[in-house]
Symmetry: C3
Subunit: 127 residues, 3 copies
């Protein structure tokens, strides 16, 4: 199979209710996001899908979360705290929705990695 990876970034604030950990304080990160989409067949141009199309969708998703206080967004709540894990999950689902509505079944989001620092990354891996 083939897999495309697109890298982007966003900056935001968040706060997690983790007993005794410093993540409880309101803080923020420059997240680096790595989005992976996969499929079996290349099109006539020899590509899985135009990188530009994936980048466009990813940019639209980034607009929803960039320079925001994530805890205040409707996307997250006490049951879905804005951890890097849940940020990755949200991006994966939002991107899959956009792909389903345009490219179709041939391309699936396989994983989304959210680096909250240069040494710490949380990845959602689709089934």
């Amino acid at each position: 199979m083939f897999e495309l990876k697109v890298v982007t970034r966003f900056a935001a604030a968040h706060q997690l209710k983790m007993v005794g950990a410093k993540c409880e304080n309101l803080h923020g990160h420059n997240w680096k996001i790595e989005v992976y989409v996969g499929g079996k067949e290349l099109n006539k141009a020899g590509v899985l899908v135009d990188f530009g199309e994936i980048k466009k969708y990813v940019a639209e998703i980034m607009q929803q979360i960039d320079h925001k206080f994530l805890n205040e967004l409707e996307l997250f709540n006490d049951n879905i705290p804005p951890s890097s894990e849940n940020i990755a999950l949200y991006i994966a689902r939002a991107l899959q929705d956009k792909i389903d509505g345009s490219i179709g079944d041939s391309v699936k989001v396989t994983r989304v990695a959210a680096w909250e620092s240069e040494d710490a990354c949380a990845t959602y891996i689709a089934d």
Copy 2:
């Protein structure tokens, strides 16, 4: 299992027939290539295979495509355009051939990633 990754780079020109996309123009990239080989057993030296051997084969393959206009090479044609996807696939097959002829069945190319920019990467993943 164990997997070795070797990173290399090459620069070349290419042109893709993608309706309405800027990739139709003759252009080029500094590709970063990540080659992965995997296997189950380590040898007596405690390694899957000497990195130097994989690097030598990868360097031979790079010589075929570095500083070339990829569309003019016999490796590619209208049915196999020199997209990053097909570049990754070509490198994977060429490296597997070299491994089959020297190291043998114990080491398989598992994937080849072709970064055409710092934010866009196409990977061929072997079955």
Copy 3:
């Protein structure tokens, strides 16, 4: 599933008995280590496990090998030479032991990557 990746580094000397290769000479590297742990469920804080906890365990393991001559450690011997492959395997097992004794069954070490240079990485991938 979700996967966390933590990146760290250590510097050490080693020597490998590889016929005719330069790795036979006593030498050293600044290794970059990427540790991956995976699991299916997020906890109430919305995370797989606190990054801080994994970082603490990884730091403890690094203390055992950082600024050492690896061939002289009890961890390695003629049957388990201190190759990047065996370093990755050792870190994976040591980290899994620490996780088993604290976090429990829900989190598994999925892989450990040991970069011995910017262009060469050996990864142990757990079954």
